[in-house]
Amino acid sequence: MIKLENIVKTYGSKENRTYAVNEVSMNIDDGEFVSIMGKSGSGKSTILNIIGCIDSATSGTYYVDDICVSDMSIGKRKKFLRENISFIFQDFALIDDYTVYENIEVPLIAKGKSRKEKKATIKKYMNMMGIEKLARKYPNQISGGEKQRCAIARALASGNSIILADEPTGALDSENSKNVIEILKQVNKLGKTVIVVTHDINVANATNRIVKLKDGRIVE
């Protein structure tokens, strides 16, 4: 279970302090499919980044399965990130100089998997996403929808239990958006905790719970 307690994130000095996230507390159960909604600047991406350990809170505590992540050292936090959390980004965040296959391989290398394991895992998730024929293509040779499926395959290949998706349909047309929503539902059915940040109500409606943010605070 993910537990956020009084998370505050501020920017700037004392006089010009801006609250990106202000006293946010929430619980997300294992295997839940949650969306965080809000307008631009509401702090939804900041919360996602804090959960994903790529940003740290100014104050407050953050637990995953009763382990206090916010107190971890940088090294431990990286290990925690490597073993528990995977990201899906709006702009897909694929490495341009790597093929689809190599992009999916990235988290597996980080985990130190054997060549055989990597090959089997990559093949499995490429098949699941229907991108097996794109293995040797580079990101600039495939469509937006294919890129996002590649990014989802990469997130799943890591085998982590928490999937964080930051505006996963933001750069896609409606057809591809629907596909991605369906894929995320399937991912959730695999037992993964999926947290989606979105301002698209269609995406939010596909989730089990919607958390609304305004000016850094939870309003619903």
Binding site: G52, D55, G75, K78, R82, F87, A93, D97, A110, S158
Partner: protein, 388 residues
């Protein structure tokens, strides 16, 4: 093809720019090393990139004159002169060291019979060719055991395999020609052999003295066409001349024009300057190369890559470019050497000083990488993800 090139280089354009920068740096370093091996001696007047040839003569100074010379004056007046006493054997060895090409004939007077070790020896120049002959020719191949003999020695000639032979110090020489009798007091017991043969001939021979330097003031004219050897030869000559008890002078027969020397000095410094600019260029290219990978590093960090692991990845990719650049530089240097007639002698580049130059180069290039790699630790994941 694209797939494999991309797989090797990853970011093709920046990697190619990096490889070109490294090739430029390593290539100029190789040439700086080569120039260093030539040395900074202004006497040698070597021109960068050109095979050069410098003739120099070793004179024996008239002993009476030399007695009046102060040592300091000798240095000033004769530049490379020196010497105290003279030993024939040493001189012969010295000639061997010179790899002398120009002296082709050695002329000597045989004493009683040609086997006697006590001979008078003349080391002459091409004037010998003008000597009148009653038969044969003096223009024989230098590496063939052929001698031209004086008239008095004809009695010692014998026939073998339809050839006229004569034993000189028990070594059989073919008689190539017979000298015309010069005068009643002439040196009709003279023997002329090629210099190369003379060296063989003299191996077990003890010569008492070299005579007739008034007549043949130039004891030898040496030609050196190896950039590398010249410096060491001159050093050996000087060492030798310092060690023997006789006055000598070395002067260069062929000197480059001043303007050419000026060009050579400018050229040397320009190459060194280009080398420094190349190092700076590599630094900037590596920085751009790493900045180009900003987003990639950020993505890796979101998957929990440690900074150390990212360092390793960058160093690995740099080393691939580096190895390729070293291979290309060596190929380029071979082509350049071929075009410019520079001897392809590995020892030029691996002499003591040059090894240091090459090691320094590699160290600087690695340090340049490491300094830039530290930049990676400053990349913030969130900002890195936003970069294009």
């Amino acid at each position: 093809m694209y797939y494999y090139v991309k797989k090797y280089f990853r970011s093709i354009l920046t990697s190619i720019v990096l490889v070109i920068s490294l090739v430029m740096t390593i290539f100029t370093t190789i040439n700086v090393a080569r120039i260093n091996s030539i040395g900074d001696s202004t006497d040698t007047n070597k021109k960068i990139g050109y095979k050069y040839s410098i003739d120099f003569r070793v004179h024996k100074i008239n002993m009476e004159e030399s007695e009046n010379l102060e040592y300091e004056d000798t240095i000033d007046d004769l530049n490379e002169s020196i010497v105290k006493e003279f030993s024939n054997n040493d001189f012969i060895e010295l000639l061997s060291i010179f790899s002398c090409n120009t002296i082709q004939y050695v002329e000597m007077n045989a004493g009683e019979g040609v086997s006697k070790t006590d001979v008078e020896m003349y080391i002459g120049n091409s004037e010998i060719i003008e000597l009148p002959l009653v038969k044969g020719t003096i223009d024989f191949e230098v590496d063939k055991l052929v001698a031209v003999i004086g008239n008095d020695l004809v009695d010692y000639v014998y026939e073998e395999n339809n050839k006229e032979m004569i034993n000189l110090n028990d070594i059989p020489f073919e008689v190539g020609g017979v000298l015309k009798t010069t005068s009643p007091s002439g040196k009709d017991n003279r023997i002329i052999v090629s210099y190369e043969n003379m060296k063989r001939f003299l191996q077990d021979y003890q010569l008492d003295r070299i005579v007739n330097y008034d007549y043949f003031p130039e004891y030898c004219v040496c030609t050196n066409d190896s950039e590398m050897k010249l410096e060491s030869d001159l050093e050996k000559i000087n060492e030798y001349l310092n060690s023997v008890n006789c006055y000598f002078e070395i002067d260069e027969v062929a000197r480059m024009m001043d303007i050419e020397y000026l060009y050579s000095v400018i050229g040397k410094n320009v190459v060194k300057l280009i080398n420094i600019v190349c190092f700076f260029n590599v630094f900037l290219v590596v920085l751009i190369w790493i900045k180009h990978k900003n987003k990639e590093f950020a993505i890796r960090k979101t998957f929990g890559y440690s900074t150390l692991r990212i360092y390793g990845q960058v160093i690995y990719e740099y080393m691939k470019c580096f190895v390729l650049a070293v291979i290309l530089s060596v190929i380029l240097q071979i082509i350049y050497s071929f075009i410019k007639s520079i001897p392809l002698d590995l020892s030029i580049y691996v002499s003591n000083g040059n090894i240091k130059t090459i090691i320094y180069t590699f160290v600087i290039l690695i340090v340049e990488l490491l300094v830039n790699v530290l930049y990676i630790s400053k990349i913030e994941t969130i900002n890195g993800m936003k970069s294009k």
